[in-house]
Amino acid sequence: MNLHKLSLDTIPPILTPFRFFLSALLFGVLAALLLLYSREDFWFTRWSNSNLALTHLLTIGFMLMVMMGALYQFIPVMNGQLIPGSKKLAPVIHVLMILGVLALVSGFLFSNSELFQAALAALGTASGLFALSLLPLLISRLGNQLIVYLLRVLFLVLLITLGLGLFLLLGHALPELNLPYRFYTDLHVLWGLAGWVVLIIMAVSSQVTPMFYVISEFSPRYLKILSLLIILTLVVMSFYTVFISKQSGTDSAQPFIYYTLAFLLSAELLVFVFYTLLKIAQRKRKIADVTINFYRLSMFSLLAALMLWWVAVFLPLAHLTYLLAILLIYGLAISIINGMLHKIVSFLIFLHLQKLSLKRPEAMTLVPNMKQVISTRNSQIQFMLHLLSGSLLLISVHYPALTVLAAVFMLANFCWLSWCLFQAYLLYLESRKKILACPEISMSL
């Protein structure tokens, strides 16, 4: 390995992750407003404009944005090198993402193929640039192999999801091509939710929970085998869908192979749920922590989704796809992100201020501790709002009259998150000013 390129003093500027987090919040708020605006109509059909728009406000506007910001922050810690372009390219990627999401969403809302073309250009460029920035890391042999392995897997799955997404988008952007895109929508969703979301939670929790909660390391064999199995199953399912079920026509019964594959996938996801819950239960740091609640909520959402899915095989369930989408996107993915954002942001602010005070001994006491940055009470309120809004969303699928209420609580959830992070950032600016006012001592380094 190249010793001289390594540095243990690599944190990107605070705005690099923050700009992604802040715009993610904005998209969360927009999603809630969209639901508030469409009300009962929202549940009319899965293919409604507002449906597709809201889905992507959450999946790329919120989830993907947060992931990008977090990767810029944490890869250097694990790897000793900044992601190339952390300072100059990241803002460009960020702006392209914002424009892309806005164009995609308004394209859906107004069924406008020019907007779709703009979205295709912006999102295609943004994901391409981001992929290129990560490439050196993915082919390097630096540091811990397990992390690099997990990142490679994650990258692959994300690329397939986004690739399929861009292909679907091409169908919308250039209708004259007559692409049979809808045929691939389920694959896009499957790779996105069973692949990307599950694997990112697996990767993050295996790296982060042992640190924060004093849990014994996740078994590398479990991580490698399970992630490989999930990917293989998804690959086989994709081939099956594209090459076999296509020929026999989607309507004809094709149950056996399909159900075997579905069974395999759900068995793998069950292993994931129970392994994660077991690890959390075994944590040595038992002190009450809201993030643990978010973690459990997330795992139980996946469990509920799997159960519903199987019940639906035997009993027809109304609105199954809506329930699954809410459980997987709002329950599985956004719960964890919500909890992690509280922790990550209070830590980031503490970290940057502490670093600033290093050369200013008098300023040491001016650094707010993590719970002063975001209080436990505010995190608890966040959890209640998230739980409540998620439950209301599920209920309103069956009682559409309640959609307004669900939307209001969803709005409250994202606004509260924005408020917590925003006041944390204000505290950062304020403390920074005070710290910088203290005299600096010279240190020989």
Partner: protein, 143 residues
């Protein structure tokens, strides 16, 4: 017996983490007597760990690689940061201020984890690669 510096030192990190968790738990339950006793045990173990690194491991690393100003210097500075956090926690512990204690201990925990992660992912593996007398160093640190 641990065969690499990374394994040996990482195990000691875990040991400190566990002592930390016990102390924090006791304090959060309002059991100051037990909590502060355990806190002292943790602080002693942490100091022992820092000393091992600063007095034995880092000098060996610096000598073997010729890198004196880089990574090890950064790690020493972070040790100072953590020492000052421990000091502050000692103070609020004596004053039995639970909110301050838990806020600061959370901050220390995360600082410590981030520091340990850098060592385990980067510094220790580099050390294992560049040193040939790992066993001997481990034994010296164990004394």
């Amino acid at each position: 017996m641990s065969s690499t510096i990374n394994l040996f030192m990482a195990a000691h990190h875990k040991e400190c983490d566990e002592l930390f968790a016990q102390a924090e738990q006791a304090v959060s339950e309002g059991d100051w007597e037990d909590g502060l006793f355990r806190w002292q045990a943790f602080a002693d173990e942490l100091e022992k760990h820092f000393t091992r690194e600063e007095q034995i491991l880092f000098p060996e690393f610096e000598q073997a690689t010729g890198m004196t100003g880089g990574p090890t210097q950064m790690m020493r500075m972070e040790h100072e940061q953590m020492r000052s956090l421990v000091n502050e926690i000692n103070k609020v512990g004596t004053a039995r201020d639970m909110d301050q204690f838990l806020g600061l201990s959370e901050s220390l925990m995360v600082t410590m984890q981030q520091h340990n992660m850098k060592e385990e992912q980067i510094l220790y593996p580099m050390t294992d690669q560049s040193l040939t007398n790992a066993q001997e160093i481990i034994e010296r640190m164990n004394q």
